[in-house]
């Protein structure tokens, strides 16, 4: 049997990257490190912990060793042994970067670059020492903790990881002291003896093992039997069972263990190997393991005392088959014992355990339950844990669950886009099938008609649900692209000494996953630019009478069939003259007579152009604005710049919706159904003739409270026929775009629903006043109105001489 663990690499990488995102976001959410709440730290810890576990198992020691250091520190913070400091947050953030890089390098089968990791570890260490020196008075916990953990940090990363960390953990853990000292003292003793007896038999040493479990040992699922079985695998095992503690039958508690053992093990295995077998029960038993001379014999006399007693207890059946089976198959070593004359002892222990295991001795267990409440152990342990603390953790968890759900739906997208695409098409086909079926249904027998149409209704509903859920797969809120910016701004302001306040707007705007992935880098570049070239230094800003802290606003919204992402700053703005000069410098071809600032600003997107005096570390990383523009163009989008000297700049990226989903109001005009984006609708009303005013030429205004809203009859704008061409009592949908309102004259208001936006341009071309199309539940196509486009169109028509219809 061998499992190829490499098949899990991909899952691990994805999980690790997600975990790092979670860590980073949690870290960024920390405003005041010293007052960080438990759940945030827990979340960070859990992420680090998972990454470490997976990495270690898969053999990515570069990641696991490093994460181990993080985890150790986080664990201390989590347990309030250490106070979180902002420097630590900084280091943790850098660690996230390092781990992300390392993960990506591993993903690409590259050898990870670890220098940064070592530097970070050194920084961790340095910081810890600094803490030790400076903050001894403020820290409620002793310095010892600090020094211990700093040594943990150093040791674990630079080598000797497992043993060292274990021993220092034990040092910290007072609870363990007793057992440890017990083992240790006996260990020392034994080592001396070992030296004496080490030159014994060539086939190994003889160990005397005294094992006296606590009564409740069985309640954790640990059976002495299993332990013996393992010991027997190490060598030759003889056992002597002590039954003297066995209570009288009436007092016997079935799930407690009253037996204890002296074992003789002849083996080549080391003492540690033997202790390892007792690892799980070491604090639930008395255990001594000592080296003895091969002549040592286990004594059977003690077992004899209760032997008869036992025989009386165990019924014939219980003692026969099952017991024998256990004896032979599970305890090969007992056969040895028999030959050595300790038969009764071995049988005694087997017999005692068998009834515990088998349910055939129910009367016993009933009695036992009466005497000792089974969950006494459990309630004890509950007392140990501070109840109020537990409660608060629970309630936090509940909140977390909700958050997780939200995150999970977004973070677990691992569906190949092509699969999703074909699914969408399949769904489309389903819709067609459904409409054909319903037509067929019309010709059927009247008897069957109802059943058929019921079934069809079902199919229709299923289809629609499937359609909706499948199509949403591709859509993600733009917060996925935005989330990296708080971190970036933080780093950049540290690096540049500029103070920047980042505001995110419209994070819930949904965007096609592909568009999102590809817009991310251009946005990063724009934001870097804004800090590097836009925002002035705090001193300069104060001198200019501006707020010391610069402002960068990142916003997203649906607008006229596009998603518009804006990066705006309140910095120094772009000087057209400087651009022209630079363009001449760089031999970029342009029209010298050009005066339109928009055209001049566009020059910065020309290849080879850079407004930076020197290539800076921040925005001068290879890609220029020309790449930004190219990327956006590749997505079918465009970019615009608006800037005022001294006031700041706005970079506006228009992206196509492709598959975006929109909440729409369906309206009917004649035979056609149109979709009006719900966000642009102010209100819908029935026209009252007294509020209609005609002004200049064809313009008809409708008095809506204080506003005069121009009426656009959709049938006129689109040259189609309508039921209603009269204004009186007609339906008017008042919409708003770019701060202007217009009233759209429609025949009827239909349903409101979410629609999936499909491109018209893909197979046709852009149509003025239309932002795209969608497929309605019945499979038919409805066009989506582009409100701002429609306003433009109408305004242009007004300017031009009217054409004959």
């Amino acid at each position: 049997m061998s499992i190829d663990l490499s098949q899990f690499h991909q899952v691990f990488f994805e999980e690790a990257l997600e975990g790092l995102d979670i860590m980073e976001q949690a870290l960024l959410s920390i405003d005041e490190p010293q007052f960080v709440d438990d759940e945030t730290i827990n979340e960070i810890f859990r992420a680090a912990h998972s990454i470490k576990g997976g990495a270690a198992t898969l053999g990515f020691t570069q990641i696991s060793d490093f994460t181990h250091v993080l985890e150790t520190l986080l664990d201390e913070i989590r347990q309030h042994k250490r106070t979180l400091l902002s420097e630590m947050v900084e280091l943790f953030l850098k660690s996230c970067d390092f781990l992300r890089d390392t993960t990506c390098q591993l993903m690409q089968d590259l050898t990870p670059e670890l220098t940064q990791g070592s530097e970070l570890i050194a920084a961790f260490e340095k910081m810890l020492q600094a803490v030790e020196e400076n903050e001894d008075s403020s820290d409620t916990y002793s310095e010892m903790n600090d020094s211990i953990s700093s040594s943990v940090v150093a040791e674990t990363f630079f080598g000797g990881m497992l043993n060292e960390s274990r021993s220092s953990d034990e040092k910290m853990e007072g609870k363990n002291m007793a057992e440890n000292s017990l083992i240790k003292s006996s260990k020392e003793e034994v080592i001396d003896k070992e030296n004496e007896l080490g030159n014994g038999a060539g086939d190994g040493k003889t160990w005397k093992i005294y094992f006296k479990p606590e009564p409740q040992i069985l309640q954790t699922g640990n059976e002495p039997f299993r332990i013996f079985r393992e010991l027997a695998q190490l060598g030759e095992l003889e056992a002597q069972c002590h039954c003297d503690l066995l209570p009288d039958f009436e007092e016997l508690v079935v799930d407690e263990c009253f037996l204890y053992w002296t074992l003789k093990l002849t083996t080549q295995a080391s003492r540690d190997e033997i202790l390892d077998i007792f690892e799980w029960v070491i604090d639930e038993c008395e255990l001594t393991v000592e080296l003895v001379s091969p002549e040592f014999k286990v004594d059977q006399s003690a077992a004899e005392e209760k032997k008869d007693n036992l025989k009386g207890i165990i019924s014939e059946e219980a003692a026969s088959e099952d017991m024998l089976k256990v004896n032979q198959s599970n305890l090969g070593a007992t056969e040895e014992i028999t030959s050595n004359g300790v038969t009764s002892g071995a049988k005694g222990d087997a017999a005692t355990i068998v009834p515990l295991k088998e349910s055939s001795v129910d009367p016993l267990s009933n009695k036992g339950q009466e005497r000792v409440p089974l969950n006494s152990d459990e309630s004890d342990s509950k007392k140990i844990i501070d109840k109020s603390k537990q409660k608060s953790i629970r309630s936090n968890k509940k909140e977390k669950e909700v958050v997780d759900r939200g995150g999970a739906s977004a973070s677990s997208i691992r569906v190949g886009i092509d699969k999703v695409d074909s699914l969408i098409n399949l769904v489309g086909e389903l819709v067609i099938t459904q409409s054909m079926l319903s037509e067929l249904g019309n010709d059927f027998d009247l008897d069957k008609l109802e059943r058929l149409s019921n079934g069809l209704e079902q199919l229709r509903q299923n289809t629609r649900e499937l359609q909706e859920s499948v199509m949403k797969i591709r859509m993600l809120p733009i917060s996925f692209a935005f989330n990296r910016f708080p971190r970036m701004i933080r780093d950049l302001s540290n690096k540049t000494g500029k103070k920047v306040q980042l505001t995110l707007k419209g994070e819930h705007t949904e965007l096609d996953k592909t568009v999102m992935e590809q817009i991310s880098d251009p946005l990063v570049h724009l934001v870097r630019n804004a800090i590097d070239h836009g925002i002035e230094t705090p001193e300069r800003r104060v001198a200019l009478g501006k707020n010391e802290e610069g402002s960068i606003v990142l916003s997203a919204c649906h607008q006229g069939g596009n998603i518009v992402v804006e990066v705006s700053d309140d910095g120094k703005g772009i000087d057209p003259e400087a651009i022209l000069e630079k363009a001449r410098d760089k031999n970029i071809h342009f029209d010298e007579a050009e005066t339109d600032p928009q055209k001049i600003f566009d020059l910065i997107f020309e290849p080879g152009f850079s407004t930076a005096e020197s290539i800076s570390d921040i925005s001068g990383r290879g890609v220029g604005m020309d790449v930004v523009r190219r990327n956006i163009k590749d997505l079918g989008g465009r970019i615009e710049v608006e800037s005022k000297i001294g006031k700041g700049s706005v970079f506006r990226v228009y992206l196509p919706l492709t598959l975006a989903i929109l909440d729409g109001q369906l309206v009917r005009v004649g035979d056609e159904v149109y979709v009006i984006p719900l966000v642009s609708i102010v209100e819908s009303l029935q026209i009252k003739s007294k509020n209609i005013n005609s002004v200049s030429g064809n313009m008809i205004l409708y008095r809506l409270r204080e506003d005069n809203v121009p009426i656009i009859p959709v049938y006129k704008a689109f040259n189609i026929s309508a039921d209603n061409t009269e204004l009186d009592n007609a339906l008017l949908v008042v919409v708003e775009s770019d701060g202007r309102k217009v009233g759209l004259l429609v025949d009827d208001l239909l349903a409101q629903q979410q629609v999936v936006i499909k491109s018209l341009e893909g197979n046709y071309k852009r149509v003025e006043g239309i932002s795209g199309a969608t497929i309605l539940g019945d499979g038919s196509v409805a066009l989506i109105l582009d409100i701002s486009g429609l306003m433009h169109k109408v305004a242009n028509q007004k300017k031009k001489p009217k054409r004959a219809a």
Binding site: I424, N425, V427, G428, E429, V431, I432, E672, V673, A717, F718, N719, I720, S721, K758, S759, L760, G762, N763, Y764, K765, V767, E768, G769, I770, A773, I775, G779, S780, V781, A782, L783, A805
Partner: protein
Amino acid sequence: MIMAIEVPEVTTVASNDMLLDGIDFISDGDQYLTFVLGKEHYGVDILSVREIRGWEAPTIIPNSPSYVKGVINLRGVIVPIIDLRKRFEVSEPTYIRTTVVVVLIVKTGNHEKTMGFVVDAVSDVINADDQDVQVSPDFGGSVSANYVHGLVNVGDNVVTLLDVKQLLTVEDGEVVHHE
């Protein structure tokens, strides 16, 4: 309202056998799907034919040329429908049971473009070597020369082979009122 019809029905009505199963794909030369517009015969490269559909009323595109009938939903994709009879001004369009839509697909760069073309009926699949294809004399007919790939003789008829790529290029045209 005009009923949608199914493709098999179309093939029986369109006299000659045009089931794609019957096509001998091993034969030399290019194959063309031929169809009728009014009294004229046209052909398109069969490899660019995606499917043949019955006529269904599309959704009108506002302010579009009169030959653009609108858009339909073709398995989740929005596909414009062009009436070739109007585009080439060869016959007065009627929408009856034999009226079919030939859906053509063409790759330009890394983008695929799909459009549906309304024709009176599809008729046949023909083989034509390059040497069979004659250059079209430009007599200033209603079909602009750049749509025409060439002419080919089939029996007594002349079939005008169309350049699918050009066909799928949308131009701004006359704007009419949709009735």
